[in-house]
């Protein structure tokens, strides 16, 4: 490839395509490299995207055949013991009237391909089946392009955007983002289970086009710091479960066995009954948070999305941060192109844009959340067990007085968890999210 480009982007996910779309719109000569056969071929998320951040890239996305699965009108939280569980849910008419597409589910193989098509229409070049294996640098160590696994695969560019996701051997190789520590990421597996649209409507109490999400913690991750999720698609359910990789390394739990046990939980099994598994995938989740963010720009390059560890684990927001960081990258690069300066200083506006937005402000707010969960495994062991025990006792009608039951419950609580550790849990928990 002899041609020179203004901007080369690594990865055709939400971050890379957002940047490409806006740059191409401004007439900037932009090329995107994607290692999959098509954009989305390697990508997964639980499946929730956010209209607010997408609309800043494609304002009329809903009219452009955006492959929305279901508009989310209800969010549920479950706290599960082995054979039982609590459920809390919130539904609001606003989510299908005034604020439709606030959050919606997608299949990333379809969505990312559609999103890349929008960027192509605006003039960006998207090259698939191509791995970026290294970065080109000049004698001053400034990034001046990329090396790919194609023959004659070097390409020069004024700025390179690294938007290659959380699993990035390139980031590690170039030293721009050290490999994450196992405790900074979660390993999640996902199965897509097909069911007729009407059956999903009935089981989730929704109309066609409307959907629900369920976020779950408890004993289901077998003592590990982890989370599960069930998301409604048009005619399938995304069933996901994951845990911190450092916990996996200790526990000898096999992810696919954990997934199967989760599917048999009494609150999950009826939802997926008679469904047909269609696909099985695995991916990392960037859970390290604020303190694991790399330096997000340098001479000739920017890092966006998951690759920059931009992920809010508490609110399962990541695709929105990817899109917005891609947008900020495009705005910053457009300014740098005007001035002809691509130094770290000239690109630093990217970082201040992120700092002044919800992206880094939210990450900062929850910076202690990852450590909190790893220090309090009782969230995934003792607490759900006790919660299940207490509710079970209280709801059993067997002639025993309520006072007697209360005593039994307290005795069990005191046996399993000390006051001091309960107070520590509450205090640390509050501090990690306040």
């Amino acid at each position: 490839m002899q041609e020179n480009y203004d901007v080369a982007i690594v990865g055709a996910g939400p971050a890379g395509i957002s940047a490409a779309s806006l740059l191409a719109e401004k007439g900037v000569k932009t090329i995107v490299f994607e290692r999959g056969e098509y954009p989305g071929a390697k990508n997964i998320s639980g499946g929730v995207l956010y209209g607010h951040d997408l609309a800043a890239i494609i304002p009329d996305f809903a009219k452009r055949n955006c492959p929305v699965e279901r508009n989310i009108i209800e969010s549920r939280l479950w706290f599960l013991a082995k054979e039982s569980g609590y459920s809390l849910s919130f539904r609001d008419r606003a989510f299908y009237e005034k604020q439709a597409f606030n959050a919606f589910t997608v299949g990333r193989a379809k969505f990312d391909r559609w999103f890349a098509e929008q960027a192509k229409v605006k003039g960006a070049l998207v090259v698939c089946s191509t791995v970026v294996t290294d970065l080109l640098r000049d004698s001053n160590n400034r990034v001046i392009g990329v090396t790919t696994d194609r023959s004659e695969g070097d390409l020069k560019a004024k700025v390179v955007v690294l938007a290659d996701g959380i699993n990035s051997p390139l980031a590690a190789k170039t030293g721009f983002r050290p490999e994450p520590k196992p405790s900074h990421i979660a390993l999640a597996v996902k199965e897509v289970i097909e069911l007729p649209e009407e059956i999903i409507n009935e089981r989730f109490n929704t109309e066609t086009g409307h959907g629900a999400t369920i976020e779950i913690i408890g004993e289901i991750t077998q003592g590990m710091d982890g989370i599960a999720g069930i998301y409604t698609n048009k005619n399938s359910l995304s069933v996901c479960i994951g845990a911190n990789l450092s916990d996996f390394m200790e526990s000898k739990v096999k992810p696919y066995e954990m997934l199967e046990e989760f599917k048999q939980h009494p609150m999950v099994a009826p939802l997926i009954k008679d469904g047909q598994a269609k696909e099985y995938m695995a991916h990392w989740i960037a859970e390290g948070g604020y303190d694991t963010m790399p330096q997000l720009c340098g001479d000739g390059y920017l890092i966006a999305g998951d690759s920059g560890m931009l992920f809010n684990a508490l609110h399962r927001e990541g695709s929105n941060m990817a899109m917005t960081s891609g947008r900020f990258a495009a705005e910053t690069i457009a300014g740098a192109l005007d001035k002809g300066d691509f130094s770290r200083k000239a690109l630093a506006g990217y970082v201040s844009r992120l700092q002044n937005s919800y992206v880094i402000k939210d990450l900062k707010k929850y910076r202690r959340f990852n450590a909190f969960r790893l220090q309090h495994h009782e969230l995934f062991t003792t607490l759900p067990k006790l919660g299940g025990f207490a509710a079970q006792k209280m709801l059993t009608v067997d002639g025993v007085t309520k006072k007697e039951k209360q005593k039994t419950i307290w005795k069990e609580v005191r046996k399993k968890i000390s006051w001091a550790s309960l107070i520590r849990l509450l205090w640390n928990g509050w501090r990690s999210v306040k």
């Binding site: 390697k42 299949g107 193989a109 379809k110 089946s129 790919t148 390993l187 696919y256 696909e279 099985y280």
Partner: protein
């Protein structure tokens, strides 16, 4: 619970690269130095299997999460992306 991971991998679309993208750097380390061999458990595709005197690598079913690269206690696994266009291709994602 016994689950056959093959039944799950069978659902996926793979375009197998003839050139393996995963390699155990020093076979001896796995057998002599690595007590827990966590790769045998945490790999979501069961790529790593214990044979008589070595750990084999069934890279063909790799889901490309990257966990073995950083989760091997001895960092004894070399892991690259498969050649562009090869490996798993998600249908739904």
């Amino acid at each position: 619970m016994t689950v056959k991971v093959e039944d799950k991998l069978f659902l996926n679309r793979f375009r197998v690269d003839e050139k393996p993208h995963i390699r155990i750097i020093e076979g001896n380390i796995c057998m002599e130095k690595c007590e827990n061999q966590p790769c045998l458990y945490f790999c979501p595709a069961n790529v790593y299997r214990l044979e008589k005197n070595r750990i084999s690598v069934a890279y063909e079913g790799c889901l490309e999460c990257g966990s073995c690269r950083i989760g091997c206690p001895n960092l004894n696994i070399e892991w690259h992306f498969p050649t562009g266009g090869y490996g798993i291709s998600h249908k739904f994602g």
